[in-house]
């Protein structure tokens, strides 16, 4: 009888949602909905070795790229909320995509429990070195003196690099013409060649061209100056407030994940991010790490970002597909 009772108890325990005490007792998978070797992927790859050590279980990265991150994100939304399947999310998967694509099979807000916001990566306003403008007001004057003639490149319709330009045109009253590319790299070729004059792109992607004298950074786009260019004013400081676009990365669990597991994961991620070696390397690469992000603050952040990007896509007049 006792044996049966014990057996029953064991069964019950197994049937219960994973216990925070014993969690994790097997490897954890983090779905990255982007290609291996990309900016989002690299960020996480720097964190996971430390994270595995802290949690005492292997943390595996599973790249499920495609459809602007929607394929991998949908996979996470449908996974069991047991803490063993997590996903990396960004301003595209959990904010802009919902306005850009019709009929997504996941809800970026209700379908997920945010674990932590890892990093925000600010953008820079860069111009080709031959553009006769050393400050933002000079650029605005130059664009206004050449109406309809100045191009700006983007890494794709609906991306922060595109929508920053839409916002900038509105704030500064300019008419920069949008030239979309498939990704940042080919856009930078045309920017270096001078076929397009202006671009909003990340500091890591543009700084080496600035050092080589081919491009010039005029301002940081976002709330604060970039640590990699502390002398560069923000657009607000330069007199054009209201353009607050940046890339961000966050970890999400499927909705319904037990709170103790979310908390444990959050602590582990924060500890990994605080590691001196991890911090140094990521900051060298231009990521701006978020200090002490909690599940609650992450949730509020994602909700605000969702609202902001939906509004921006509407402003850019992109029809959802």
């Amino acid at each position: 009888m006792l044996r049966h009772l014990l057996g029953l108890a064991a069964l019950l325990t197994a049937a219960l949602p994973a216990h925070a005490q014993s969690y994790p007792d097997r490897p954890i998978r983090i779905v990255v909905p982007f290609a291996a070797g990309g900016g989002q992927d690299i960020l996480l790859r720097h964190v996971t070795p430390k994270l595995s050590a802290i949690l005492g279980q292997q943390v595996i990265i599973d790249n499920r790229a495609g459809a602007s991150g929607n394929i991998g994100t949908s996979l996470v939304a449908k996974a069991a909320p047991d803490g063993y399947t997590l996903g990396l999310g960004s301003n595209s998967t959990h904010a802009a995509n919902h306005a850009l694509f019709k009929g997504l099979d996941f809800d970026p807000i209700k379908g997920f429990d945010p674990v932590i916001v890892l990093a925000q990566t600010p953008l820079a306003l860069v111009v080709n070195a031959n553009v006769p403008a050393r400050t933002v007001p000079e650029l605005v004057a130059y664009v206004k003196a050449n109406p309809g003639k100045v191009n700006y490149a983007s890494a794709g319709v609906g991306s922060p690099t595109h929508l920053s330009g839409v916002l900038f045109n509105r704030v500064a009253g300019t008419d920069l013409v949008h030239v979309p590319f498939k990704s940042s790299a080919p856009a930078l070729v045309d920017l270096v060649a001078g076929r397009v004059s202006v671009m909003f792109d990340t500091f890591p992607a543009t700084t080496s061209f600035v050092k080589a004298g081919q491009l010039r950074q005029l301002a940081a786009v976002g709330l604060a100056r970039s640590p990699s260019a502390p002398d560069l004013p923000t657009l607000s400081e330069a007199g054009f407030p209201g353009v607050e676009t940046y890339f961000w990365s966050a970890i999400f669990a499927p909705a319904g994940t037990p709170q103790p597991i979310l908390d444990k994961l959050n602590r582990a991620f924060n500890e990994a991010l605080a590691d001196r070696e991890v911090t140094t390397k990521l900051e060298e690469l231009g990521y701006v790490l978020v200090k002490d992000s909690k599940p609650e603050t992450a949730r509020a952040f994602v909700a605000a970002e969702f609202k902001k990007w939906t509004e921006l896509v509407r402003l850019a007049d992109i029809q959802p597909e």
Binding site: A35, N70, G156, V189, P204, S208, L285
Partner: protein, 499 residues
């Protein structure tokens, strides 16, 4: 010049350390293996090995990853020749004459010339990278959207020339390829076209999926009609090309090297385009174009030289600008960033050991590949002795695994099966898949650049003739088209192609 000399010496001193020799060799072997396995490409392999490279010196890591990339160019030709199964996108064209040679029992000669041509092209292209990297970087930057569009136009005209039989059928196949290229998200509006609500289709069809289906699986289906019990080919002749065959291939290797070297520099061009272009040129220049598609050794030598030359020079935009010219190079940038090196114009001055080390290792790696591949030929041709009933299930299994691994997607596997059926039907109706693939590759690039050029010119189409490079390419396309459709030429063509 002395800069280049000291640079190369520095590079050799880096590449020839025991540790880097080992990683170069490991990369070359890995690359050959993934090149041989149908569907499993360097992109997947490098993605899988990225975490492993974490612990390596950045230079060693890049040397190994580069080895995988150009090793795959060597290995990819093996299955193309033996089984009509392109292991790599850039070796699709090798199927045409390579497999025909294998059927005639000349598999050894085909494999031999592809290894020798690749080594020669790799050596020349490595020298070009060392000597002219900065100058070629300016070329990569100077080519604008209008020029790209005209280059693609020339390519499409070439696709028609490429075809064997009916001109009309060739044009139909190019058009079908262009249509298949439309599937996916439009760059200018982010509208998903022809996706039928399948999210996997919003990124377009994968080239490897289409090529594997049309060529490889289609070939298997066609072969099922033949005697499945027997081996593939009874005799397989000598293991190396004869002196006559070498002489026949010499010019093709030279021209293929030249074309591949130039096209490899262009972002978006790369090995596949180089292979297609050089094959077209050889066929155009040949006194007996009818031999092509029926086991002409130049039809193997030229594209194999071109794809390897292009594989080397596609490192130029990566090393000098930090700009990837294809998916593999994008991963290399990822690998550099993981090691805290920001790719860009400063790499040459900031990390000369890395820049020159990688370049020197390319030549070392090519030599290793030649020494590795020539003895393997004897082994590979023995694969042809395996009876169909054993060989084909194995190949299909590997293909499915390879295709699935492209983006961990079952949709891709189903699509490849569908394209296999299409390939079978096309073969039965005497439509050739090669022009379709060229249309499929060029179409999306052509559209993207056409529309970008039009945005930049504010809707003025005259840019295509006022830009000198673009105008020259369009003129070349027009001349080629005239030569192909002029009645007299066509009459000659039809006589030549009579079955």
């Amino acid at each position: 010049m002395s800069d280049v000399g000291t640079g190369l010496l520095l590079g050799l001193s880096v590449a020839l350390t025991a540790q880097n020799l080992f990683y170069c060799f490991a990369g070359a072997v890995f690359g050959t293996l993934v090149g041989v396995l149908p569907g499993v490409g360097p992109v997947v392999t490098i993605a899988l090995l990225l975490p492993v490279t974490f612990t390596l010196e950045p230079t060693s890591a890049l040397i190994m990853l580069s080895g995988i990339f150009y090793g795959a160019q060597y290995g990819g030709s093996t299955t193309s020749i033996l089984l009509n199964m392109p292991g790599e996108t850039s070796s699709v064209i090798t199927c045409l004459d390579g497999h025909a040679m294998a059927r005639q029992g000349r598999a050894g000669a085909a494999l031999g010339i592809s290894a020798i041509g690749s080594f020669f092209a790799g050596t020349v292209a490595t020298l070009v990278v060392a000597l002219f990297a900065p100058a070629l970087t300016r070329l990569a930057i100077a080519i604008g959207p209008a020029d790209y569009f005209s280059l693609m136009t020339l390519g499409l005209v070439g696709a028609v020339v490429l075809a064997q039989g009916s001109l009309l059928k060739a044009i139909a196949m190019v058009a079908l390829g262009l249509l298949l290229g439309l599937v996916g998200t439009d760059v200018n509006s982010s509208v998903a076209r022809f996706d039928f609500g399948v999210p996997e289709l919003t990124d377009g069809l994968n080239f490897a999926v289409v090529a594997m289906g049309l060529f490889g699986i289609g070939e298997i289906l066609t072969s099922l009609e033949r005697n499945v019990g027997a081996g593939h080919i009874a005799a397989y002749g000598r293991v190396l090309p004869s002196l006559a065959e070498l002489r026949q291939s010499a010019m093709a290797v030279l021209r293929g090297t030249g074309i591949g070297t130039v096209l490899g520099v262009l972002p978006g061009g790369g090995p596949s385009l180089g292979a297609f272009a050089s094959y077209t040129l050889e066929k155009r220049l040949s006194r007996e174009p009818s031999r092509f598609g029926r086991g002409a050794i130049e039809g193997v030598a030229a594209p194999e030289s071109a794809n390897n030359a292009a594989a080397q020079t596609s490192f130029i935009p990566l090393l000098t600008l930090g700009i990837p010219s294809n998916a593999v190079m994008a991963l290399m940038i990822g690998a550099m960033m993981i090691h805290g090196i920001t790719p860009g114009p400063q790499v040459i001055t900031a990390r000369p050991d890395l820049f020159w080390g990688v370049i020197a290792s390319m030549w070392v790696g090519n030599l290793m590949l030649l020494l590795l591949n020539l003895p393997l030929i004897g082994l590979w041709v023995r694969v042809l002795r395996i009876p169909y009933r054993l060989l084909y299930p194995i190949i299909l299994l590997f293909s499915c695994v390879g295709i699935y691994s492209l983006s961990n997607s079952t949709v891709d596997v189903a699509l490849a099966a569908g394209f296999g059926v299409l390939g079978y039907v096309l073969t039965k109706l005497a439509f050739e898949p090669a022009p379709l693939l060229l249309g499929f590759v060029l179409g999306p690039m052509m559209e993207e650049n056409l529309r970008r050029a039009m945005i930049m010119s504010r809707g003025d189409p005259s840019v295509f003739v006022t830009e000198p490079v673009s105008a020259g390419l369009l003129a070349a396309a027009a001349i080629l088209l005239l030569l192909t459709i002029l009645p007299t030429v066509r009459r000659g063509r039809e006589v030549a192609f009579q079955e």
